[in-house]
């Protein structure tokens, strides 16, 4: 899968995972996306995006063993892989280049 084929939502999720550092569970990612990113998404969209990012090897996760509070199910804490960091950097540089080209027409 090509690294640069991520969509806008996947880009935002990568940034959110970086923001959350070691606390990037799915529930936290969704909360932070809504509060800091201003983007409310359904759980279905979030999990599908996380799966796609995992398939593209842009994120990885640590699994916490199941406990009673989770009904006996595991929990994942996501982290961005080195490849994921490259993609985020490339996106940033591209965006900066494009912003520079706007010459302040859309604000400072």
């Amino acid at each position: 899968m090509a690294r640069d084929s991520i969509g806008e939502l996947e880009h935002l999720i990568l940034l959110t995972v970086l923001n959350l550092e070691s606390d990037a569970s799915a529930l936290r990612i969704r909360d932070v996306l809504a509060t800091r990113g201003g983007r409310r998404i359904t759980r279905g969209a979030l999990y599908r995006s996380l799966d796609r990012l995992g398939e593209k090897q842009l994120i990885d996760w640590d699994v916490v063993e199941p406990d009673e509070s989770r009904g006996g199910h595991t929990k994942r804490f996501y982290r961005v892989t080195a490849a994921g960091l490259d993609v985020v950097r490339e996106r940033r540089e591209a965006l900066l280049r494009l912003w520079a080209g706007t010459r302040g027409m859309v604000g400072p």
Partner: protein
Amino acid sequence: MKPTPPALFRKLLAHVVPDGASGPSVLGDLHEEYVRIYGSRGHARAHLWYATQVVMIGIPYAAATSAAVAQRSLVGLGQGLSLDLRHAARGLRANGVMTAVAVSSLVVGTGGAIASAGLVDALWLSPLPYPGAQRLVDLEDMHDQHVCSGCSAGASYRSFSEWQTLDFFEDVTAMSGGSRTMEVGDRSIPVPATEVAENFFDFMGGRTSLGRFILTGDAAADAPAVVVLGHGLWTGAFGADSSVVNTSIRIDGLPHTVVGVMGRDFRALDRARMWTALRDPGASSSFDQRELWVIARLSAGVTTQEADMGLRTYAASRYSSVSGLEPGWYAKVESLRSVVSDEIGPLGMGMGLLAATLIVLFVACANLAALMLARVTEREAELGIRIALGSNRFRLARVAVLESVVIAVLGTGIGLLAAVALTELVGERARGAFPGWVDLGLDARMAAMAVATTVGTAVACGLLPALRSYSVKPGRESLHAALGGRDRDRLRRHDLLLGVQVALGVVLVGGALSAARSVVRVIDFDSLGHRYAGIHTVEIDSPVGTHGTLAESNELVEALGVALGAHPSVGGWVATRPLFLGSWGNADGPSPVRTEGSVEAVPDRVVPRHSLAVGAGYFEQMEIPLLVGRGIGLGDRVGGDPVAVVSAAGARALWGDVAPTDVLGRGFSVELSGGTQSFTVVGVSRDVVGNPRSERRRAMPMIYTALAQTEPWAFDHGPARDVTFQLDLRSTPPGLPEVEAIVSESRAGVAVARSGSLRDTLLLWIMPVLIIGAVMTALSTIGLGLLMLGVYGTLSYRVARSRRELGVRIAIGARPVEVFRAASHRVVRVLAVSGLIGIGISAPVAHTIGAGDIPLGGSDPWVLVMTATVLASLCGLSCLGPVRRALATDPIESLKSD
């Protein structure tokens, strides 16, 4: 209580989210939140929330899964398709005989079915080729005492004018058909022509290829006479000369301006080849002058029944207010489609043909199914072994379906082409036998139905091995199948298919034999009771008509008869003129005939309605024996007492059961609006058959008056202008141009309506029977051919499957008769039982086909015996090959190969 998410939704989510994805953690996340909501908002809210979240999460996962499956399937479908197609083609080539038989079955089955279904559709089912065809109706006057049921009384111009104003008709038009004499160069030719109302062509949706058609203003009494030529007449008589428009031609001796030529695609409701304007007779016309055929298009939303009720009420009220009009007249509305179809034949006959068509199609499909089943059986063991060796089931199934598709496409494709060719051929040959509205073309709906049926059957049959390829289990079951462990089931399926084929074949053969018998009887002109061989008929349109004097009429007949008789090929001549003595009334009403001494007229139901006025020597020339008395002679001329000869049946009709000798000297009179004329019977002749179309050869009551003494007005009720000369031929008769030349030299302006042998005239009369009979015969031949193929294929398959058993029997000393019994007893039993069932159901089917006046069908012992004989013979023939193979089985070889 421990909070637990709803189990159903939990399982649903676990099922939708794949294991490799976020599955367990998603369930955990939801559980965590569910517990929180449960604590804060309660059990119900938590459940509802959980269910909603499962749906919201499930949708994108389900969509992603479906897309992936579809993608995999499409890729899978396409993979190796060309390879499988080649494999299927190789399989079919390897089973060349089976492939050829299957394709042939489909070709003849679909070809014959499509062609005959097209004929049935054109004659009885398809809408008429005019705008708003479903709303077209026939309007005509009716009188319960004067018009027999099913007869047409027509309508008057005054009625037509008034009906145009009624709300339940969107549009009403009228026409009046007949034959007109057109002069082209120095020739006078009779042309079927129709006078039409000024809105006729608009009503019919006609388009001209040149000029214009009849328009408003052409109908005025003082308007110049105009004519519109049909495309066929324009090309045939005028050489497609476009300069003919706006020139003048003479019709019935009067100049008419050609104002237009109709387009090639315009189809007349009758056989008209040119059209003139129907003149408005003005206020002086009467409601009693019922000379028009009036048709209408119903207003939107009005049904035929509603219009019928409305017109009946309106006309009954209107007619009762007209002084001088006999009470009891009203008007009725009927579907135009059913009126014009009835002229061809009853709907039951069409349905009978359609039933025969469907039977042929079904037999073809059953035949194909039997062959494909045999193929399934052959392949079952092969499939098991292939699957055991690890073959892809989907690919195996696809090869099986592809084999069927190839057979279906080949068979139906060639069948369709054959049907197109056959339809073109029949359409071209039979064009003149039907009215203009009949379009003998291939019907797309019928063709699509037949193609879909056969392709569907072929593909469905192909699915059987495909399904087997999915259900066959490698290992024990494959071995079981390879060793023929399922033979009993297979044999049952084959028996059922063969039985249905044979039963339907019996029905088809029974119907076809009935049809063939009817055709043979109808074509037997020797049984008509009069001579037909060596008689040439020349029919003219007499300009004297019914209004001239007897002297004028005799002079014309004498002049033309002498001229025609002078031709070297003619040994003698006699003239005849049809004399209609019915009343166009109710069967219980009075006829115009009154016997001497009787105060009441002869009832219409018994009077010799279709009688004849004949010239001197008629009985001698036509070889109709006289039972007593004499025939019409040269002495029976103007001035003498009018005389007549009656047939034996005619005598009984007029005077009851009296001896022929007692009839001589009795008198009768004919009373019509033109006057009254009395005749004295001078002879009684043997009966002749009236309607050659009827196989029953019923004697027709006849009155033969002396033509030279019969007043012209007496012909007013019948085809008033027809005079026929029966020429006794010595050698080759004159052709039509020569006859026309003789007639026009003798009397200018007289048109020859027809010239041909009496045999050809009779053949034309029975043409519908011949055409329907030919179609039935063709269908039954196809059906029988397919049936033979089916029997042959089934028995061959049985013999092939029983090879080992037969080998063992022969090895232990079975006699040929025992081998024969072992190979064929099951098939013979199926043939016998299904044959009997077929005979049981063939009678009602034949009865349906034989409905109406055209004598097809009917069942009698002769037909049943012949059906059984034909079928038994053909089945026996079909069995010959396989049985010979069975008898020739080499026990050593068969056991070794097993």
